[in-house]
Symmetry: C2
Subunit: 311 residues, 2 copies
């Protein structure tokens, strides 16, 4: 019997991650590339094709060993047709039938979804939300993404764009957001916004988020106050999520999740003091378990689930 | 063959509505009572029992003709066990096993759920959300309630308390809400709050919402401005709902829904200008179709769905 593998790809604004998995999602091999190296759409697609072919060859496999290729993509996708509507942080993509292009070039079945959805799927199946029934997973980074598990299934919404927690307004009035809206959570707690605030407060040209976390950990009051503010604003959006969806689990991942207890404590405190009591008691807030690998794992799970459905 | 009927009950802070339905949800008979007439919990339960017995007798039926009794209740319910946690607007109810009490007294099967969930179920099966897949239904009244349909099913959440749109905060800071939270949508656009604002603006001791709607309809600028403000605040909460859940339909019912075009126009405008484009394009905002009857119809649907499940 042919041994089967799955390839999971996580395309982000910064990194292009490719990983080869066994059917139990054990990682066999992986490669990280720099997205910015490939510029135009055509070169990025060629890089994806080459990476898939390389990881197959390097592991002495042939196409017949590969069950399928899953992709997590940083923008809204028509999941059924495999069409990329656009990428907010990678220019030049507009209504691209990526599934068709990749399947033609790779001669493999390709499945794709939004990266935040695949992170949620991975954390639900193998990570911090395992065993829960209704979970909401967030990634805090340059953007604030989210994915929703409802009754044990990934919930995609009516046009595959559910889960945009980062674009829930937390005030009636507030800063303009990249999405065209106002006062969105992301416009307050996106990476760049926090770094700008830190630069202002510490009167320095550059303060990295790692440094800010380290300072907070060592009881620097100013740094702690920044993280506490981030936690409170995130908490306000999550009060809405908790009262609306009554989830049993909220998973927080992405770079900011490393800020540590101070952020999580403030999020939990805000939910406990402001959300309705039955809902607040029902929900656990957890740190994501799968780290940077969540995207490729989720992409691999997507392949296995869809191949199974087609049997 | 015995002809079968269903009894639907909608218990509100103001009205106790009882209705007798055929299996196709055609209304056969109905009765409205004043909730406040019954004071204590025991008297209210006795009134429910008497009303059910009376509507059966008055229609020359016997218990054997009744498939079951459904109840919509104004507070959080443990749907599986049939336990009322509490009613925010009717004092004296705390962890009451109402299902057990009613089944013992009525010798009929009893099913219950939150009133806003049953309104959503009714509008989805027979009203304004018919044919949609993912819908969010709101009732605007003294409180702001909500119910969520996900992939064609009522979504209740992890402890049966999903859908509390009225308790989504729309600001980081704001007025204290009855729920214990702050800046909740309901604390801005609940009936009483709007009436208080109208009294202040028109410098009168009493301004009814009907009058305020009439004035707005006849182009009274002050009245129009009040409704426009309500629509905008409701719109901000719905931007969160639309970006998070990507529904194809939002149904607005309850007393305030009669404010007319000015309210709906502002809600739609706010969604179109502030929600993400794919989500904003996917959603239709509609006025509820079933009016005051939605609660009893939803309660009857609940009975039919649950009896069916138990076959």
């Amino acid at each position: 019997m042919t041994k089967r593998y799955i390839i999971g790809i996580d395309l982000g604004g910064t990194n292009l991650r490719i990983a080869l998995f066994g059917l139990g999602f054990k990682i066999i091999d992986r490669k990280n590339l720099n997205t910015a190296n490939f510029g135009q759409k055509e070169r990025l697609i060629a890089a994806i094709v080459d990476s898939v072919n390389n990881i197959i060859e390097n592991n002495r496999l042939i196409k017949n060993n590969i069950l399928g290729v899953g992709l997590g993509l940083p923008g809204p996708i028509d999941v059924n047709r495999g069409v990329v509507h656009f990428f907010p942080n990678i220019p030049g993509w507009c209504e691209v039938n990526l599934k068709k292009i990749l399947e033609k070039n790779l001669k493999l079945q390709v499945f794709m979804d939004n990266d935040a959805n695949l992170m949620a799927l991975a954390e639900y199946k193998l990570g911090a939300a395992k065993g829960s029934k209704n979970a909401v997973c967030l990634t805090l980074g340059t953007g604030v993404g989210g994915g929703i598990i409802i009754e044990g299934n990934l919930y995609r919404g009516s046009s595959f764009t559910a889960g945009e927690i980062g674009h829930m307004p937390i005030n009636e009035r507030g800063p303009e957001c990249n999405c065209g809206g106002f006062a969105c959570l992301e416009s307050y707690i996106g990476n760049r916004r926090i770094m700008r605030e830190a630069q202002r407060i510490f009167k320095r040209d550059e303060v990295s988020l790692e440094e800010l976390s380290r300072m907070a950990y060592h009881n620097n009051k100013k740094a702690a106050r920044i993280w506490s503010g981030v936690g409170e604003r995130l908490g306000v959006a999550l009060v809405s999520v908790v009262n609306l969806l009554n989830p049993d689990c909220i998973v927080i991942g992405g770079g900011l999740a490393n800020a540590g207890r101070i952020l999580f404590d403030k999020v939990e405190e805000t939910i406990l003091t402001r959300a309705m009591i039955v809902q607040a008691r029902a929900v656990k807030v957890r740190k994501a378990k799968l780290g940077n690998g969540a995207g490729t794992i989720g992409a691999a799970i997507l392949v296995k689930e869809n191949i199974k459905m087609k049997k």
